[in-house]
Every structure is written in structure tokens, then in C-alpha cells.
Symmetry: D2
């Protein structure tokens, strides 16, 4: 028997019909002799009963694996909570294919059988540690899997930021904002802002400006050992966005420090997983113009 | 004597030292036998006295020419107020070169001498008429010179809009927003969002998506006889921005209708003006990599 | 009866199985009482017999309509030959959908019935007149529908060109090349080089640089009344490409003059044709990421 | 005394006035007690005498340092010859600032004094090993510092290539070509083709398509441990370009295999060198629009 003795189930919050998929997976896992936990808010949101409920900290303490049924947003949320506990994630896609939820819903039990039998690969994904400093103190700090975005708020006025890497000045950027993305995040918001795709194993982060005022500005890829410091120099209404799920206001003078998080998050893939096949499908590269 | 008998002076509002430049221009114009009016808010903002004060409507009724001393923002504001009155504008640049304020401050009296002597060219710039419709009624309507922007507000969540041109469906766009720009506006915000440059005489508008989710999306150039209708299909917090100076919230279901304004605004250029020379200088095309 | 009494058939040259489609169309047209001509090289290439054969000049003199069965390349070729004769074109697509061949093969007889019955729209597409001048004389001149490309040859060394519009200097471009495209050509090679899409009715041309050395360079849209002059300043091995079908070498000092051609080419569309629907389908805009 | 006892001088080949700069440097180095060698073709090209002449192999065997006076092209050439011999390079810029020749000509003796005194930093730059395979055998193999380009030749017809990474299919690319660039090469041709900038220490390569037919195609950054295999599937006239200096024809079926070269090339920088400062200056990021 594989090491995945206790498995947590996490579902998309806003979707009541996720309950059936979760129950199917839960029943299957029990039949395979695994202990099953359902994440607390998931249970509350979809009304799933019949399985013990646990919050993320309990899951972190007890689970050997977490199965996320939903979309990329659900994976981001789970990763931020479970990375420190080193619980690996399996992504089952409900709806259209996600960049992270690589297992199709209809094949989830087959994929799970493979994974429980040890026929899987494990991929470590780098995360970002982010800290907001204000007036010499730490205002806020957390971890993210996709990206940190510093950008203008509702007012259509550019912001001006200073960017330093390892203490060295990079540029004084006047733009709508700046995205600092992990390889995982390179296929999310950064891609819409014309950033490149970073293969997950590349130990680097992408700095992608949003609507830069200086037309010769380009995305820059820096080592994931870099410490990136963004100082908000001028802004009427700037925001910090974390994985598109958390947000806070930024004030002039605030510093956002970004580096590699101490922990990675592990993704467990069934046999046959291919990052490039997923890209081709999601980005319609097969479609001939 | 040229037809510019009465000349209005308009200055940047946020800059007290514009008073000297305005007074210099005003004195010069009086010596040339012209009647001089100073725009009301300009006078209030910089404390200029010694010239009769007039609001934009009086300027519209009485002036044959308006000299704008400031930046592109001052020109946009003047254009929106004076286009209906058909008062042509001269742009004198205070600070760094503007796309619209093409006369350098140090050469303004020479340029003015040329213009008063009839040695000038007149360039008509197309404007946009924009109307916001809600629940079957008109919520708001105005004219803009640069662009109409429909975009997300402070929340980092894409908006979804339907775009129709002359009643025909163009696309269902999921993005941070969409810019509809005149040729004049093509060198402003639209350029930061990777839009093309439209020579001012091209009778067309540019539709430039901001961070589109569909990667094969591209700017589209449509005839200026088109009626562009943008319907906000899904959004948590969307905004309408007009020339970067006016703003209003948009609700799901709102329609923004955009077409060519009835009036153009005339720019008066001294001899030697070159649109392409201005582009080269502003965009540093002369600089060799 | 409609005015299309004599109809020419033109097929893709490199495809022998086009013969069946041509014969089907030819038989149908005869049944409708039309005179049918088959273009000479088409007949030779696919071995079609049973219809009178005519070269492009005869078609120009006699035909009221030409039906092109093939892809966009076949349309480009037909347009260059028939524009001066003002013979309108119908495009039937063999293979995958073309930007110009808008009628699906399986629906071609229905579409033709509509067209013969007068249920159609006619769209005039602008063409470019291009002339190569060398040592004060005209080396070469022709018409194109899509684009003129001045670019480097096989050697990976940038070329340097001077661009003037209506005698005014635009820029000194160091790049792999420059594309001057009509609205029709804006969805062809220019699109791959990050140019915008021009709605066919926009009276403008797009200047799209290929791999420009100056990163702030952007596509420029100019009035179709402009005369664009490209002077090859420095190059080891430069080429002129016309519609991707004709090619000649360019020497340092050569001038390429480009303007609107005197004649347009008319495209005949069956009912229900939509330019935007075609864009959506070809560019996969409907596909959600 | 530092370890740089024997110093080679290498100059731009096509520039006779490089002789003075080389002689100045050579005399200075002798005064500092160093042995000086002049690269053979450099000596022949600029007519410099008075120093012993050596070809690249002798330089590789005997020199502890090579001073390159010229531009980035001279550095590329020197790097390809000297990397296997592990001779570090110093770049002195003649003409405008280069991305690699970071020492201004007027400051070269001061910089050299610092370097000889051990006040310098050493930066290892990754190189690419490239091999062309045809009919099962190796047609050609070499090392490059900037990039490998597979692209169309003089004919304006797209090429079709299959790309595999570590044996896994990435895509079937239809485009003008594909650039595989090192971080050093990311600021060269790849940048003109809209590739991102890779900080030199990032252990990755950039795959940047040239004018891709599929509009959703994007640059991909892959680990420098990857083996990239490009198979030419369809082409009339394709070429392989290496650092923009070597070229060969490619035939349908040819495979180009690209991986990290065994050797790196070391760049020696004087105190105060900043990669980002160089970027800002070269790309005019300081210039406000």
C-alpha cells in the first residue's frame, strides 16, 4: 500500500454540484482502505456530509495527500494553506481543463487508482514569500503560488515603482502595474500581459510589466534566489494582489519584498502527464490558423 | 491681420509657475493687437490677473483661437470643452514634449508670430461621442478626444464584454478591459497596451484589448463611421474612463455606445510641424540599440 | 436573370482533386444558363476538360464573375490578374477556411444560387500599386492585394531602410524587414508579425516592422492616399516579396514606392457573410482559455 | 601580482582604427609586466605590429586573459574560440555601448588597472552546444554563446518544425523560424522577436518563435539541462544561423540538437559593473515617454 493513508478532499467553494464528485471520490478512497477527510469550508459550501470534516491546519497535520476537485483557483487556495505542511496535491478538473487541475473528471478514479498504486510522478512547484513593509515594520506577509501583482486600483492613473533585485536598482517603472510570477503563475495573469511561459522546473521568476509607459520595457526573468524589492514611489490608489485571491491597498513608500518561499508545493500527476501536452491543449497550439 | 482676433489662454491647472508663461504670451498677443481672455480655472489656479477672465462657454462664444500652455492633459480638457464651439487650439509645451503640445516653450513667441501671420497648418482631429445606456435610458453622454476605456476596477478579476460593430457581433472579450481610441489617442494609453499608431488623418478607430484572456486577440482598426457598442456582461467592479480624466462606474448590462463625434477639434501648427518627427522624438526611434 | 452571364472558374494549381469541385460548379452554372470558362493554367494543372479554356486576359475581357476554388493564395493570384478588368471574385474554400475564400465547399451550390439570384453583397478591397525604382528608372511595377514586404534574404543580418510618407521622413528602420499591408493583408503575414487587424472598409495601410531593432517601434496605420517610399540604405541580401507569390532582389539604393492601386477588386459574398464571424472562427476567439 | 600574466588582445576585424586602441592597451599591459599576444586575424586586419602574434589555439594554450576591443560580435567570436580553453574575456567597447563590451573605451586603462589588481568580478556565461544530424549522422557541431536560429531562407514561405524537449513533444511550429537563446543571447536577436530578457545567472534557455502562424504562441523558458531537438518537417529553403556569424542550409528531415555546452565562458568585469544599469542604458529605460 502506498504512503497516502489519509487523503483530504477539497472542492470548489462556489459550486454545489461538486458534492457528487467529492462523494464519489471519498467512497472510492474508503474502499481502498484510506481515511478520508473533507475540508471544512468545502463541506459547508456544498453540503457534503458522511465524512469527517477538518480545517486546513488539521488536514496539514493529518493528511498524506489532498485531492482538489475544482479549478486552478481551488488549487491556489489549497497550495497556500498546505505548502507549509508539505501535503502534496492532486488536481481533478471540474469544468474545462485547468493548467493545474490536470486530471479530467471522468478519469479521476482510474487516475486515483494509479496514484494509490504508486504509479505517479511528483513535481515540486516553487512558491513566493511576500512581505509588505510600511514605516519600517512588516504590515503583512504570506505565501503565494502564482504571482504577486502591484497595480493601479480603480483610478486610471499609472503608478510609479522602483524595482531592486538583490539591492541593485533595476528600473523606475511607470506602468499600470508589475507582475512577479512563478513558473506556475507564468501561464496565468502574466501570460495575458505578454509574459513568457516558464517550464515549472526553471528556478526563476518572471517580472512582467502591465501596460508599461516605456515602450522598450520587456519581461525580465530572474533567478529564484533573487530578492525582489518593489517600492511604491507614486500612486493615487495602488493595490497588491496575491494569486488573484487576496488583496490589500498600498501606500506611497510601501515596500513589497518578494523571494522564494521556504516550502514548495508538490503536485502529484498520474502516468502520462505531460506539461507540454497541457499547454498545447489550453493554448490551442494544435489549431492551424 | 489674421482671423485670430480674440485669443484665449488656457494653462495647466496644477502648476503655479505657468502664470509667467501665460503672462508672457498674453502680453505678446496684446502687443499684436489681439484681445486676450484667460480661462477661469486657469486664472484661479495660477493666480494670473491683468487679463479678462472667461469660462469655457464664453471662450467658445468669443475666442477665435485658444493657446494651451501645459501638457497633453490640458489639451484633452480644452478639446472636450471647445470642440462644439469650433475654437482651434495651439499647444505650447511646458515640461517635456507632448504628443499634442508640439510647440516648445522657448520658441512659443516665434511660433505665435508665424501663426498670427497666417503661416500655419490646420489639422482636424476626430473625436468620439460616447453614451452610456442603462435600463433603456441614457445615463451619461459626452465627447472625448483620446479614448474610451472600459475596464476592471480595483478588483483583479477580468471583466467580460460583448462588442458589436454596426449591430454585428465582433467578440465576447474576457480581459482587463478594452480601449477604443481615436488616432490622437492611439499614442496615449492604447500604445502602452500594444496598440498600433494611427496617423491623425486616418478615418478610423482602434479597438485595443487590455490583457486579453484569449491570446490570439489582436487590436482591430475599424472605420470611424462605425458605431461600436460595448455591453458589460460580467463584472464585479467595472469602470468607464474618458480621456483619463472622467470616470464612472459601470454595472452589468450597461451599454457603452461609441461613434464619431459630430465636431472635430482643430489643431493649429506653426511651420515646420511634422507628426513623424514628433513620434521619432517621443518614442526615441532615433536612438540606436 | 442576374448580370453574371459569363462565369470563369479558377482553381488551386497544385491540387489535382480540385477538378471534381470545378466540374460540379461548371455543370451547375451551365444548368443555370451561364457561359462557363475555365482558366488556362487551372485546366492544365488539374486536367479538367469539357469547358472552354481562357487565359486571364480573355477572362478579363469576357467574364462577369470569377469563382475561385482553392485557398487564399488562389484568390491573391486571381485578384492580381483580374482587378484591372474589374471582374468580381467569389471564393470557395477547399480545405480549411480561408480569410478570403469564405464559402464552404459543401455549401457552394446553395451560395452560388443565392449569388446568381442577386442575393449577395459586394465588397471592394483596396489593392496596392508597387514600383521598384533603380538608378532613376522603373525596374518593375505591379499590383498586389495583400502586402509588399521588404526584408532580409537568407543572411541573418538586419537591413536598414529609410521610410518616407508623402515625402516626409518617418524613420530610419533597422530590422529584419517591413511589411506594408492592405486591410486584406492585415490578416495575413502582417498578423504574424504582430500587426493589427484592419476592417476591410478602413481606407488605410499598415506599416508593420519585422523584428525591429528599436524596441519602441510599433505598427503605424497610414491613410490609403499616402505614398510610401522605402529606400534600401544598407543590406547584404534584401528581397521584395509581393503577396508571398512574386519576389525580386533589391540592391542598396533601390526605392520601393507604394500607393493605392487605381483599381479595387470586388469580392462577392452570399447572404449571411460576416467578416467578424470569419475572424472569430479563424483566430479561435470563441475558444476560452 | 594577479594571475593574468599573459594577456591576449583581440580587435574588431573590419575596423582599421582599432590598431591605436590595441597598441595603447598593449603598451599599458607591458608596462605592468604582462606578456602580450595579438590575435592573428586581428593583427592582419588592422596592421598592428610590435607584438607577438598568435592564433586562437595558441592564445587558448598560453593566455590567462583576453581583452576584446570591439563590439558584441567580436566577443561572440572570441567566446566561441576560447571557451574550451577557459580563457576569460574582458570587453572594451569601441563605438556605442555593447551588451557584452561593458568597458567604455575612454576608461579602459583604469578598468584594466583594477582588473590586474584583482578588483574585478567574474561572471560565467552559459553556452549552447549545437549539433546538426542528417540521415543518422552528425553533419556539423559547434558551440555558440548567443543563439541558434532555425529559419526560412530568402523565400517568404513559412517553415514547419517539430520541437521536442527531453524527448517530449512541445509543438509543431509553423513560423518564419525559431530562436533558441542563452541568457546572453536573450538581449540580442531574440529581443527583436519579442523574447524576454534572462538575467545571465538564470540556468535556462529561451525558445522564441519568429512570426509564428499560431497567434497564441509565446516564448517558452526551459531549464538549461534540457535537450532541445528541432526537426525540420517542411521547408523550401531553411537555414541554421549560429550567433549570427555562422550559417548552414538545412534540409527537410534534419535534426538540430541543442543543449548546454560543457564549458562556460567567463566575463571579467571591473568594479561597479551592473547588468541592470547596462540594460537601462542600452534600452533607454530611463527615457520618459
Amino acid at each position: 500500500m502506498s504512503s497516502f493513508k489519509t487523503v483530504a478532499l477539497i472542492g470548489r467553494y462556489d459550486s454545489p454540484d461538486v458534492a457528487t464528485a467529492l462523494a464519489t471520490m471519498g467512497d472510492y478512497l474508503r474502499k481502498q482502505g484510506r481515511e478520508v477527510l473533507v475540508e471544512k469550508e468545502t463541506a459547508a459550501s456544498c453540503g457534503l456530509s458522511g465524512f469527517p470534516v477538518a480545517d486546513f491546519d488539521e488536514i496539514g497535520a493529518r493528511a498524506d495527500l489532498a485531492v482538489v476537485q475544482g479549478g486552478d483557483g481551488s488549487m491556489l487556495n489549497a497550495a497556500r494553506h498546505l505548502a507549509v505542511h508539505q501535503v502534496p496535491l492532486v488536481g481533478v478538473n471540474l469544468g474545462r481543463l485547468g493548467f493545474m487541475t490536470d486530471i479530467a473528471s471522468v478519469k479521476m478514479l482510474d487516475a486515483m487508482a494509479d496514484i494509490l498504486a504508486g504509479r505517479h510522478t511528483i513535481e515540486e512547484r516553487t512558491m513566493l514569500a511576500v512581505e509588505v513593509r510600511r514605516n519600517g515594520g512588516t504590515e503583512f506577509s504570506t505565501f503565494v503560488l502564482n504571482e504577486v501583482v502591484v497595480n493601479k486600483g480603480a483610478v486610471l492613473r499609472l503608478i510609479e515603482i522602483l524595482v531592486h533585485i538583490d539591492g541593485e536598482s533595476v528600473y523606475d517603472l511607470r506602468s499600470d502595474g508589475l507582475i512577479v510570477a512563478t513558473p506556475t503563475g507564468s501561464t496565468a495573469y502574466a501570460l495575458s500581459s505578454d509574459g513568457p511561459i516558464l517550464q515549472p522546473s526553471v528556478p526563476a521568476f518572471a517580472l512582467v510589466p502591465i501596460c508599461p509607459h516605456t515602450l522598450s520595457n520587456r519581461p525580465i526573468i530572474v533567478s529564484d534566489r533573487s530578492v525582489i524589492e518593489i517600492t511604491l514611489r507614486r500612486s493615487i490608489d495602488a493595490r497588491l494582489h496575491l494569486d488573484g485571491q487576496l488583496e490589500c491597498k498600498l501606500l506611497e513608500g510601501d515596500q513589497v519584498r518578494i523571494g522564494r518561499a521556504q516550502h514548495t508545493i508538490a503536485f502529484v500527476h498520474p502516468p502520462g502527464y505531460s506539461y507540454y501536452a497541457m499547454l498545447r491543449e489550453k493554448l490551442h497550439w494544435g489549431k492551424i490558423l
